[in-house]
Symmetry: D2
Subunit: 260 residues, 4 copies
């Protein structure tokens, strides 16, 4: 499917602050970039650099009237759902780059969910079936609601509160998978048909030698997801991180289908 994704971010920054922005489409075999543009205002003194996982990030200083506009034309390959028999790896089969996604992070304190996961999901076979059971549990147990969570909400909080948005669903999914011994990471994405249009947060699990994409909210079709960045949780995939105050003026995100 050919998709056209774009975002426009506008901020007002009184005193120059350091910043990191992650808005570029990840250049990977499953999502080929046909064309892309980046437009920065004078106040957005940001340079691009690529991380080992392919995530490209902009970092530098922002000041005054900061405008960042990005567009990408992308061919997204069809995405298979996670097979129920996708194999869960023994840890001695995993490399350090994957093992780190077993560990707890800022918003995914998986170290505190061991007993719950053992009680709730031990009847499900390890691997794809257990991930499916976790995602089904989230779908059945958590309400999708705006306004009950914020930028500091952890998976522990969402587990109690039983409501949240895409970020919270993803954090809870990652947390439960890690507590089940399955590497899981956060993915920032452009999402076709997401209502209302916004950056989306989804997750990936590592099974059978590859990362599989999943959307715990079930709000966006899998083929309509364009990955931007991967990381441990929302802290790593934020579209903007600043070292000080920046006042949001406007933000638009949109994804349109251009061809099959």
């Amino acid at each position: 499917m050919r998709l056209f994704a774009q975002c426009n971010l506008a901020y007002a920054v009184d005193t120059a602050v350091e910043a990191i922005a992650k808005v570029h489409v990840l250049d990977a075999p499953d999502q080929r970039i046909v064309a892309e543009t980046l437009t920065l205002s004078d106040g957005a003194r940001l340079a691009t650099v690529a991380a080992a996982d392919g995530t490209r990030l902009l970092r530098g200083e922002i000041e005054g009237a900061v405008d960042l506009a990005y567009t990408a034309l992308v061919d997204v390959a069809p995405r298979a759902p996670i097979p129920a028999d996708a194999r869960q790896h023994r840890w001695d089969e995993l490399s350090p780059d994957t093992l780190e996604y077993l560990l707890p992070s800022r918003f995914c304190p998986s170290d505190t969910f061991g007993r719950f996961v053992a009680r709730e999901f031990d009847a499900d076979a390890p691997g794809g079936a257990r991930v499916a059971a976790i995602l089904d549990w989230i779908h059945a147990s958590i309400d999708y609601l705006h306004g009950v969570s914020n930028a500091e909400t952890t998976a522990e909080r969402t587990f109690v509160d039983r409501a949240g948005v895409c970020r919270d669903f993803t954090h809870l999914g990652i947390t439960l998978c890690r507590a089940a011994g399955i590497p899981a990471r956060a993915v920032g994405a452009y999402a076709w048909r997401l209502e209302p249009a916004d950056f989306h947060a989804v997750m990936e699990v590592y099974l059978g030698g590859q990362w599989w994409l999943a959307d715990p909210t079930r709000l966006a079709p899998g083929d309509g997801l364009i990955r931007i960045a991967t990381g441990r949780d929302a802290a790593d995939i934020a579209f903007l991180t600043t070292g000080g105050g920046a006042r949001a003026i406007a933000m638009t995100v949109s994804v349109a289908k251009i061809g099959d």
Copy 2:
């Protein structure tokens, strides 16, 4: 200084569980490994693998009577203290591998300390002087006390409670440095003259193009520190992480000076 470090870990594991152990001395220019030995009992089915930062980790399965014994003879180069004028980098000078150490993690929620750091340390010059001010503040404000913290204690909790052990001091130091825009990471270490002998947790900051080691507890001489692993916080540098129950039977850690 030539040091001989060793650890012995013994666990009883009723049902086989996955595990990651980090006990190997990091092989780096400032700490040359002269000789090392690793002895594993039959129940410790662990294989070694090296991460990009040089950390070597053991991972696999443990079951039954689990014994892990490691020794290393190491020549540690003298370590310079952080110069007051060590330069704080602009973020556009940093690579993604370093930028990640600006972000909040499980035990270091630096995203919530921005206002405190701005109020308390803005009078100190960025870079080495600001790190020194942060370490001085911790030394003056936090009591070194056993029994007030545990494996789930975050820097936020320690900041309120004003007491903790090496892990807590290090988490608070990392958190405040990140909130000040300075990359900071956790380091697991063998420490000469640490009383009582134990694994030690210290920190590193990235200034002037290199990582500088610092011990927020001021309990161990800098030259007596042998680095084992680096990571975002205690979750990444734990000497043992398991995917289930393991009963600690015994643990000894010791470091002796063998030569100058």
Copy 3:
């Protein structure tokens, strides 16, 4: 000073829920009620009852279009500031009704602030001087900012975040006083000249045989405060507590000076 206070609360409630409202002016010697009115819509099936401390509360069921309008004409006596030498009681001088305000509560976890309070305020004389030092510390350390806290924010969170609104300032003041061994409680209030007009949260400490009112935000003149309810923290003095969903439609609060 003669003040005219009023509030109008409008809610939409799809399914009937239980509710408690606290909007009545406390009838006490220092604030004589000259006249008052209460108007409830059919959907506000609430009956008034008085608590031991004089707080009057409305409780019952609300459903459909819920409107609650209250007005009071009140003569407020001049309020003396807390004298620096107001005596801190030994605990054996206190009755159980006062002793309970030494204990931690939902938003005031005073049990975790003992070391901080001992370090920071031990140089100040117990009693009025120590309370003054605590209030000065809050004024110097915390920014008055909307949007950084919410209905779940505790004093621990505000202590780290260094910002909040009246509710947060009051919670932190109560917490630090309790940790210093001084009974402290929350007070809901109408406040003259508060900008923007809203219900106000202030605090009281028990020294020298009486409760003294203090406004940690320093936003409203002491003589312009009309007490509504007292309790352990915001949980006890909330103007509305419900056992289920209620959608806020409108709220106005105002206080006008009618005479000297």
Copy 4:
């Protein structure tokens, strides 16, 4: 049943601190005190006072070698289990003294459990049946384990961690009942046949015009419970609260059956 309860508390206190102790048997119709003794060392300068709910508390100053020994011979009336049809009150039937036990407290943040309780227990009839469902859920979901919780553990933490001791079970039971609109409070108790012998924490709910006792751990027989103190949570019923450091030297608690 006639029971003989006793406790001995010994502390070493370097510098005099204020203290509150709650060890006296509550004098109430269901537990008639036949005889009791209290022995205090010179360092335990504590005077007794009774609260409105009948709880007697000792408060004053402790210093040096502090010993407190209490014994009571008590006739405990048989206790009926909570009937399934015990009626849940409308809030307009409740007095302020009971309404306060609907509100969240330090360790029972019931304000965050509304959605979970509505999802999980709405199929059960309000009142006794719903309380039974809550207690059954706790019994089925939480492991009784020493060492996973501490003096700062909240019901939110226990809900995630799925393990704890009597204090944690009681906090979770209270929290879920309050979130279901049922007044619930904590009760400190001497408990016959509790293994190992210790102070016990249980709970009471207010249904059908009276308070009903329940032990969420199911460890002690109901008739063998002797109530000491009631309050919002462990903060209110602690057997010892101090305003500073006190080193525990020894503690014994025992309950023996003397007659039927």
